[in-house]
Symmetry: C3
Subunit: 337 residues, 3 copies
């Protein structure tokens, strides 16, 4: 859609430098933007791109406004303002309320009239789909599941059973929420499956990535707080509790019954063992493994940065010989006495 | 469903402390249980919860029975007894034999009359679905695949081709079994795909997690033994062989042609390189990478526990300077001679 | 299908040692091959299997030909020749052009007559499916997506939106291409979603593994070069660019805006941070984390090989005490002055 800088400045409370009549109809990068695009600068390293941008306008901080060759929307947080404006110019697909002819909706399911149920979706008995919700092609919404108002399940999402999602959530394709937790009791004749009778409770405004899995609780629920962001291919095990606004990058794994605080950030391939607590405002860097509870906010690490394989091999060999180095130092100390 | 302590004691061969007439109809945690719930204590750390539990009864070890304020089922293995009782009180959904009107079953597929084929499932030519099997919504059972008796594929599982599953298996949503192994031959003009003509053989009583992938063999089959447990988002590559009752937590990766023994345990994010053998009864701890064959049972590790990022940075810097430390020690030794 | 050694020798330009009339109809391993199978030897470690093979013929290097008890096709690259011959003997399933009655194809989609659209597939408005393409059961091809000529999407693949795939690609079940990148702007009240308005551009002859996810670009496209091979459960984040013929094993994660060169190899569980560049011909070994741009071809590592847990615990403890070891050496040096 198309709008003007004046309207955007008013809607998002930005100071405008330039003509309010300038029209924009899409967002683009500084480098590729044309005269109908609005762009943004939030990373100082890209400032050189500002000088030559062909954008109709740019969103940036007050301190950078003087360097812009084009009209400016001034924002304290250009990236967030960009996000809001991009949402205006590139709105989500409008819902087409109703149930597609190929969808299978159980008579005992409760689907709001304003919701859209896509092709080949399956809504099982006892499920509830809220107002203005979207259940995309090939999704399965199992017994006792609740899809909140304006929550959108894109294609091929599975809510297994007793998964209660809040409002305005967004779940990407292939995500599986509410599958059995990994509960097994060892016996002399092998594993006995431990029935997983809990559900999953998910807050409002949660986004869940493609092919991510969030297991149901063993007895009580697995719980995901409001505003949580989980990227693709993450694993949230049974009875994990995740605090509000925590974000996890791809391929993170949180083991069973771990309790993660609010506003934490987990980088890719990181994870925690089970049955620990991580307090609020913790940052876990890439590939780090958290093995004990964390009670102090801050950054935590155990990942090694890659280096040329030959020098790495030397490092590894030296570490493996540390015992003998310790012995040699002890001998030197003894000799020196 | 509802039953009595007397019936449970008899069925699972437990000594009963209390009235056999006490009725229970669900399981719950010690903390949340009410007067119709049965709970369990298998972790000594939770013993304080026993004193105040509102449960109708508790399953625990003989040594703990004296401390229970409520009736007790005494068991040598309370967790396994709990699992069995939970399965009685919370049975799997009863099958509705037959093929859903929206399912697509090829004329040359062989589906037992007692099996249930869910909405939008696809059963291709030459596939076979056994007695009392369940093929859930959106599943695809490809050519030459066999779903054993009472085996259940929950929603959106794909068996690609020549996947032969045993009896009483359980496969969670999104799992893909029998996709092509990663076989590529380098040539001067790029990769040539190596056709993957093997299948997958899966034993009885195997459980496979959500969005896990098990590739077909390059020539011979990939093989998963009886009673194996594989959690979510694991990767089992072509021609891997996994022994009976081995369990793998989420996001484990086993590379091609690795041969894993029986009763092994792999923790999250761990894995092995290809073409190695791991003997029976090996435990691989979190994030560990196994690069050579293992011939002795026991625990193996290479994961680093996370610590505050600043202290970790110091550790890393010291390790990278180990070479100069070694030189300094050598110089001291020389000077001391 | 069946053919003769003479025909294969001619088709793949191999020298033939033995009778051209010998017929073969499948490939098999040296150990299991029978008199209608052709096998290959490319790994010297398996040479002992050659002596007793029951194969009708074997593909091998000239230097090994003298040791073969059976007819030989001589090749400079036996593995690649094997791959080509296996493709002849085990061809992909023949397409059945047309749209399955249960598929849902939007009136505004453009599907070639020679393409096959499988059961329960969904082709949305503005999508295009090329000649001889295959869209398997349960796939979703979203708005603006292009499935190139002879490209095959096996079951339950999702192309979300504006995913443009080249010709002769192969995508395995459960892959999700074009889901939103992980873009979030922090504000005092929580995350604001950054709309992801870019698409995905995929070259020709690309293979993408089961349950792998490739996100769409934030503004510009995510780009996968010709001939790239990506294994299962990999994560390719928004705006990543991958050069031609690069191969990534399972569970690799490439973070946003990373630019990976051509002919790179990434082993399992490895990955990179975002916004870096990796030059051509780089090998990243298992579990390695690349945190800085790489400008020199070669192998890079940061993975630790597993060892018995007790000795690993000692190694870890010694590393954690390195600071005091450094102090002790410094004291020795001072005392020695």
């Amino acid at each position: 859609m198309s709008t003007t800088l004046g309207e955007l400045a008013e809607q998002f409370d930005c100071q405008l430098q330039g003509s309010p009549a300038v029209a924009v109809d899409h967002v683009d990068s500084l480098v590729n933007a044309d005269a109908t695009a609005i762009s943004f600068l939030s990373n100082a390293a890209l400032k050189s791109q500002l000088e030559t941008t062909g954008a109709a306008a740019v969103i940036l901080r007050e301190g950078d406004a003087g360097d812009s060759p084009v009209p400016v929307l001034v924002s304290d947080n250009p990236y967030a303002t960009y996000a809001n404006i991009a949402a205006v110019l590139h709105p989500s697909r409008t819902l087409r309320p109703g149930v597609h002819a190929s969808a299978v909706v159980d008579d005992d399911a409760d689907v709001a009239e304003s919701a859209e149920i896509g092709p080949h979706a399956v809504i099982e008995a006892g499920a509830k789909v809220g107002e203005h919700a979207y259940v995309g092609p090939g999704c399965v919404v199992g017994p006792g599941c609740v899809v909140g108002e304006a929550t959108r399940l894109l294609g091929r999402v599975t809510l297994v059973e007793d998964v209660r999602m809040g409002d305005r959530c967004l779940v990407h394709p292939g995500a599986v929420i509410g599958a059995d937790g990994f509960g097994n009791a060892m016996t002399p004749t092998g594993w006995v499956k431990v029935p997983q009778v809990g559900g999953v409770t998910i807050g409002d405004d949660v986004e869940i990535g493609a092919n991510t899995t969030i297991d149901c609780g063993a007895i009580d629920d697995t719980v995901i707080g409001n505003g949580v962001r989980i990227d693709n291919l993450c694993m949230i095990a049974h009875n994990v509790i995740i605090g509000e606004h925590t974000a996890m990058a791809a391929q993170v794994g949180i083991a069973g019954s771990a309790r993660i605080g609010s506003r934490c950030l987990f980088a890719g391939h990181s994870g925690t063992v089970g049955h620990i607590e991580v307090c609020d405002d913790v940052v876990v860097t890439g590939k780090t493994m958290i093995t004990k509870s964390i009670t102090e906010p801050g950054a935590y690490s155990s990942g090694w940065a890659g280096e040329p394989a030959k020098s790495w091999a030397k490092t590894v060999a030296r570490v493996r010989r540390l015992g003998s180095l310790v012995d040699r130092v002890a001998k030197l100390e003894k000799d020196n006495k």
